[in-house]
């Protein structure tokens, strides 16, 4: 099946999988958090209804907003979709792995962030600018930590191509227990928390504009624009969880395109990201949000973990 048709089928499958599962994962996190707060919580499929509702609602745009405001939701959504094509979820190598490696992924995220930060300034609301400035300062620390963590895995595998990293690792399972590997995983986990705007870095559930980071930038969005932004954020979380699970523990991932392997791969993928999602919810429930000026310290931990991982790799080897 290694042909154009196969590439299209498998790529569409992967795309649909990320698109369709993203709201569910966010629903699972919300549900877990609700349980920790001894609430019953909304159903795990509630995010689907929320998106459907937002897609139907009218869009209100500030009269001072420029064209940036209108294109950004599509841009963010599209760039996240491209990332979803590049990151191995249920199968490795992904059919389109040759279009970009891990550096492409990092910069596609940066592209989305860049435009969202511009939009925060674009609407003329005081909160948007506040959010943009915070997002940019946090991002400037997230990015090096993220790169370092990912490069540790890349060095181990001898390639920056995500599919090759995953494939190498899944063929030598012992490498998963390498201490360098585990340290890099912890580093990337902290980055995931920060990058997806979760407690203790940001609070996705707050109503207090003055404390927001990511939410402050998109405060002016409504209707389908908001739906696209929200959906993209949910997919971003899935992508990060996929990176965490497959770049470090590629257990069960399909290496062929046979239906059976894909089935097993999907099951393994969902088990792993649901476990990770629950861990994220636990972290969110057991911590208060950090004081804004402590966020760099927290991210430095990620940076140092990744740095140690890299050093360890050179000392004890892969």
């Amino acid at each position: 099946m290694n042909n154009v048709f196969g590439v299209i089928v498998i790529s569409s499958f992967q795309l649909l999988l990320v698109l369709a599962s993203a709201p569910l994962i966010s629903g699972i996190i919300k549900k877990t958090k609700a349980r920790f707060q001894r609430r019953r919580g909304a159903s795990v499929v509630q995010p689907y209804f929320d998106l459907a509702k937002l897609l139907r609602k009218e869009v209100v745009v500030s009269p001072v907003a420029s064209w940036l405001f209108r294109i950004t939701p599509y841009l963010v959504f599209a760039s996240t979709l491209v990332i979803a094509l590049l990151v191995p979820t249920v199968v490795t190598p992904v059919p389109l792995h040759w279009i970009g490696d891990i550096i492409t992924v990092i910069y596609l995220f940066a592209l989305g962030r860049f435009f969202v930060a511009l939009v925060g300034l674009d609407t003329g609301s005081a909160f948007g600018g506040l959010g943009s400035s915070r997002e940019m300062s946090v991002a400037s620390i997230i990015e090096p930590a993220m790169m370092l963590a990912i490069f540790t895995a890349a060095v181990t595998a001898g390639s920056t191509n995500l599919s090759i990293i995953v494939a190498r690792l899944s063929s030598t399972p012992v490498a998963m227990l390498n201490p360098a590997h585990l340290l890099a995983f912890s580093g990337l986990f902290i980055v995931t928390i920060a990058e997806t705007g979760r407690v203790p870095v940001d609070n996705p559930a707050t109503h207090l504009e003055l404390t927001m980071i990511h939410e402050a930038m998109i405060l002016e969005y409504s209707g389908r624009y908001l739906a696209l932004i929200e959906w993209a954020s949910q997919m971003k979380l899935v992508v990060f969880l996929a990176l965490l699970s497959n770049m470090f523990f590629p257990v069960g991932i399909a290496t062929t395109w046979s239906p059976w392997a894909l089935l097993v791969g999907s099951a393994a993928f969902f088990c792993k990201i649901i476990v990770l999602a629950v861990i994220v919810a636990v972290v969110e429930s057991t911590n208060a949000k950090l004081r804004l000026f402590r966020v760099p310290e927290f991210l430095m931990v990620a940076f140092i973990l990744s740095f140690l991982a890299l050093i360890l790799f050179f000392i004890i080897g892969a």
Binding site: P200, L210, A288
Partner: protein, 531 residues
């Protein structure tokens, strides 16, 4: 310890040349009148009172008495905690020269009071001339608290814009927030001047919820005014209603049934409990510790349900009445049992909550050193209640001006020195424990069945204070009756009116994202402030 008579003798001897001293109906009030020719000595007299008796400025009341004696009056109220005495200095104001010297030069805590009097009465406390309660579009020549002002009249607005302190410098931005906020909070406009994240200056514009409560109460029967008092500030429904009842009862000199006094004290503590626990939850929510917040809110809900079981009202409304309380909240065995069980379970659940919070280093890190209000500032601005006690101001009307059953209860006034958000939370934690202990002590006091006596003899043209230590701080009502024994003037002082100025000082040099939690740690009432 000095008695009231000693105060009267001492004051008329030493200050007799500038003021006259009279006895008052209320047992612990000393009334004085400043002679007209001594008006210029007003600031000095106030400072003297404060220094010689370690008195605290409590409130300032403006009153239109033109129909009685042809002039306006200002009443400066001071509390003397050491001797449980209130000194009330009356200052006549000639309607032709609506001006008195300002006392806020030496006494910063009087600043807002003077400005409010200027807005509502047109009496200028020179040089403190800035608007406060009236918004800029309110015409200068309209004085809503004059007796001849018709509250129904439509006042044509003038042009005017809010003036905020402008901070200039490189990279200084202004962030306007409100008056409409996210979440269920009352309106108020905040204007931050920030350099990056640190707040350089905060200006607050309040009085969006001014309802003219004091105005519409004119001519109202005291019995009906109790309902109005319950609506001054929703979270202090019982506190305000009780403070008002106290003022009327002190005027009439009637004896309140012992059982009613116990019930009133119990209800005051129940009001404190649900509010303190709710505030602890709100503080935790604002630092993003949702599990702690949910635990606190659940406990608050249980106390509010207890309120409903006992009184039929979650906010303890409809119980206060002149001469006692309308019903006995422990009338049935079911109610007695509910209260008994909740004291035990509430205590256990509350300690669990405290342990949960204290075990979370990430929460403590957010609360400690955040929003510090120094003792000096708190003292200077006359900050009362929990906010004051968290900055080391050892004041509590329950001890200093005992009312209700407090003289018979064992309790500790909880104070902390640090003045930060954590200290304000710790004061609340300490007070919840004390409240629960007090409820326990009150359980064993069954003093008869009678809960209400009739208050009929309210003397005309007299005034008295009524006060309680509400959960937020001291609630002080000053009431004067007219010829028919109805309300002539009713001045309500909510602790928020003292404390709003503390917020401005406490947020300085903190970062913007910490503002919500600092604000929540004060949890001031907009409605009680604006009235």
């Amino acid at each position: 310890m000095m008695e009231k008579q000693q105060y009267i003798t001492l004051l008329s001897k030493s200050l007799g040349d500038r003021l006259t001293v009279h006895d008052a109906v209320a047992p612990n009030e000393v009334h004085m009148s400043l002679r007209e020719q001594s008006l210029s000595t007003l600031p000095e007299t106030c400072s003297l009172l404060i220094k010689s008796f370690k008195a605290q400025f409590t409130t300032l009341v403006g009153n239109d008495e033109r129909s009685l004696n042809g002039s306006f009056s200002l009443y400066y109220v001071f509390s003397v905690p050491a001797d449980d005495i209130f000194l009330i200095l009356q200052v006549p104001v000639d309607p032709r020269h609506m001006e008195v010297p300002s006392i806020s030069q030496n006494l910063a805590s009087a600043n807002w009071f003077e400005r409010e009097v200027k807005d509502w009465f047109g009496i200028i406390a020179f040089p403190n001339i800035y608007k406060l309660a009236a918004h800029p579009d309110w015409p200068e020549d309209q004085h809503p608290m004059w007796k001849d002002f018709d509250p129904q009249a439509v006042v044509p607005r003038v042009k005017g814009t809010f003036e905020f302190k402008e901070v200039e410098g490189e990279g200084v931005f202004e962030i306007p927030v409100g008056p409409v906020h996210a979440g269920i909070i009352e309106p108020g406009h905040f204007r931050f001047s920030v350099a990056g994240e640190p707040i350089i200056n905060l200006d607050v514009q309040l009085f969006y919820t001014h309802k003219g409560t004091e105005k519409i109460a004119e001519g109202l029967s005291p019995h009906r005014a109790v309902f109005l008092a319950e609506r001054v500030s929703g979270d202090s429904s019982f506190g305000h209603a009780l403070a008002f009842c106290h003022s009327m009862e002190r005027l009439s000199g009637c004896d309140i049934p012992q059982r009613a006094i116990v019930i009133r004290t119990m209800l005051l503590e129940l009001e404190r409990l649900y509010n303190h626990i709710g505030d602890i939850g709100a503080i935790l929510l604002d630092v993003g510790f949702s599990v702690g917040a949910a635990t606190a809110f659940e406990l608050k809900e249980r106390f509010m349900q207890l309120n409903e079981t006992l009184t039929g009202s979650r906010l303890l409304r409809g119980l206060a009445a002149l001469g006692g309380v309308r019903r006995d909240p422990e009338a049935t065995s079911l109610q007695r049992q509910a209260l008994r069980e909740m004291i035990v379970q509430g205590k256990r659940a509350f300690e669990d909550l405290v342990n949960l919070v204290m075990a979370s280093s990430s929460v403590l890190d957010r609360l400690e050193t955040t929003g510090t209000l120094s003792h000096t500032d708190a003292y200077r601005l006359g900050i009362t209640g929990i906010a004051g006690r968290a900055s080391g101001i050892d004041r509590d009307f329950r001890r200093d001006h005992p009312h209700g059953a407090y003289p018979h209860l064992r309790f500790r006034v909880v104070t902390h020195k640090e003045g930060d958000v954590f200290a304000r939370m710790n004061v609340r934690i300490g007070e919840v424990r004390e409240s629960l202990a007090m409820l326990e002590q009150l359980q064993h006091q069954h003093l008869g069945e009678q809960t209400l006596t009739s208050v009929v003899t309210i003397p005309p043209l007299r005034h008295a204070l009524g006060y309680v230590e509400g959960w937020r701080g001291e609630i002080v009502h000053w009431v004067m009756t007219d010829n028919a024994g109805q309300l002539y003037r009713w001045k309500i002082t909510d602790p928020s009116f003292h404390n709003w100025r503390a917020l401005k000082v406490a947020v300085r040099n903190n970062i913007v994202p910490d503002f919500p939690v600092i604000n929540k740690s004060f949890n001031l009432s907009y409605s009680g402030n604006d009235r």
